[in-house]
Symmetry: C2
Subunit: 345 residues, 2 copies
């Protein structure tokens, strides 16, 4: 970060979590200009010291009084905290970039992937004295749409079938620790400790732990369905998703089948993706080298590969692709910081 | 197994491999009647002793002379061994149940899942003195079709989009050992040993290691496409697949999106699956309990859950399901032994 007079004052809510920590790292990497930085967390974490860019900060307890003189507040402390303190921050004139699902589907709250729909937040101006909420989409949605949108712009996606391979990080730092602990236990022949997840995660996989709704989809899957429609501003696009947790640490993968309204062959699709901002194409058939979670971990770009004409569809109206993206980075912290950067423009 | 005069003489080719070992276990579990048992493997393994049902066998080297007086030969030693020795066994009058892909797509060779298309092997009779080849489908195909076929019979599948979550076992016992070794290494902060797979498998996943064809699909995926058509005897059914290896030990999972010609609602689908042979339904939405690889490991039945109306399709013409099956058991050894059992009828 670069300390700059006239730059915004920043608050981070949930700084001790996996995404909160990544906010700091991304702000630093991108040399984000700021006037002051406030680190907020629950009472339990208040008082902890965090050294960041050669300065030591004391984590403050999040209260109703936390947002006086805050220009941009990056929230990642869960939906209930966002619901309670998001409106308080807005009331105090802050622009809240919220990583939770609390406000995503609210009318009037832009749901933004900067490479995809920057126009949705055009009306929100920093320094206007008027607070506002901007929602960060769900990680699976961001990663999927980073790859699907450039193709959608060219050939219009009619229907999309997504199967996810989601990492532990999506359930937070404690889930990553549990995966590691369980793996050690299983290798030692012990019963695995199940606290965050109700079942063995090590060397196993399971349907996403989000609650299952009456239509049989879990909340994670319906986020992909609904958020895609909102971000693309296309209420007719058809999406189905099956979300699965796999024993991977911090990057998600997604198998995406696309049906298009207009023809798009795989070579053109590959060209489009090679030129898409924030996307790298890893698609070496001869070398059997395609995106993996490990290869994108701690990286900004979403990787796309396995780009091929779908043999189950006629002509050039279908593609299969495989996408990997760092869940904590582009799936959460980076996307939020990019939103904040757009406010500076 | 039960030693019975007049029962067939059995040979197992590749007895020291993961599937070979499972052949023995399944034959024992199912009390398969036999007159004699011959354990065959490569020269390297010849001479090893295997104690099985209180009797010690010496593994014999597989040669052109191995199949004199063999009625049923269960092969699982890779495609090149099957190609070389399968015809030799047939020539000597044996019925070969081959787990490799060597003959699967050959016209005249039945490709059989006993619950799905037993009629394909009706013309093959044991004791006729005439040898024959019967192919065991690929593990992913078997597991998928165990769930999809009962629904297909009711509403006719038009198109199927499959994404797999495949275990280490599909690449053999050495791959399972490598996953375990790599996991220990990664947990100790060491570089993972990559011998079977070219990249880190522990806490990672990657596109299936089968060679990639000119259409961009890998061989594993095209097996699902082509074998489904052959097993269903329906050259028009449209299938696409994305096959991914996940760090799970021995059972595969598959996310399957189905488009039907005729309507089929999810309740009816659940009923159909509950009554399907070799299938168990695990579909508890309230408890978020669905099939997992761990829960089906070492089990015979294929588990199906997440049965729901596909929100991306109109009316009751689409379903999403999630399927798990033990790759070594129903995906290989059990299916082959069931084929052998049908020969006894």
């Amino acid at each position: 970060m670069s300390l700059t007079e006239n730059a915004p004052s920043i608050a981070i809510v949930g700084v001790t979590g996996a995404v909160g920590q990544e906010f700091l790292s991304v702000l630093s990497d991108r040399n984000f200009p700021y006037r002051s930085l406030k680190l907020l967390a629950s009472k339990r974490s208040a008082g902890k010291e965090i050294t960041y860019e050669d300065k030591t900060y004391v984590v403050e307890e999040l209260t109703d009084q936390s947002f006086k003189d805050v220009d941009i507040a990056l929230f990642s402390a869960g939906g209930s905290i966002s619901k309670k303190f998001g409106p308080v921050a807005v009331e105090d004139g802050a622009i809240v970039v919220d990583n939770s699902s609390a406000f995503r589907m609210d009318e009037g709250v832009p749901l933004v992937v900067p490479e995809v729909n920057p126009e949705a937040m055009e009306h929100i101006k920093i320094g206007s004295g008027k607070g506002a909420l901007i929602a960060n989409p769900n990680c699976s949605t961001i990663i999927c749409l980073m790859a699907a949108t450039p193709l959608h712009r060219h050939a219009k996606v009619k229907r999309m079938v997504v199967s996810t391979y989601q990492a532990a990080s999506g359930a937070g730092a404690a889930a990553m620790e549990e995966l590691e602990l369980q793996t050690r236990e299983v290798l030692e022949g012990k019963e695995p400790t199940c606290k965050i997840f109700r079942q063995q995660y090590a060397f196993n996989l399971f349907s996403h732990n989000a609650p299952v709704l009456s239509n049989g989809y879990n909340e994670e899957e319906m986020k992909l369905v609904k958020e895609t429609r909102k971000i693309w501003n296309d209420k007719d696009v058809k999406v189905t998703a099956t979300c699965i947790r796999v024993p991977v640490m911090r990057a998600h993968a997604e198998s995406v089948n696309l049906q298009f309204e207009n023809p798009l062959d795989e070579d053109k699709a590959r060209d489009i993706l090679k030129n898409a901002p924030g996307v790298v194409v890893i698609d070496d058939r001869a070398d059997n080298h395609f995106p993996t979670p490990l290869e994108v971990s701690n990286k900004d770009a979403v990787a796309v590969g396995r780009i091929r004409r779908d043999v189950s569809q006629d002509g050039d109206y279908g593609l299969d692709i495989f996408v990997c993206g760092d869940q904590i980075r582009k799936g959460a912290a980076l996307n939020a910081v990019q939103i904040a950067e757009m406010l500076l423009k």
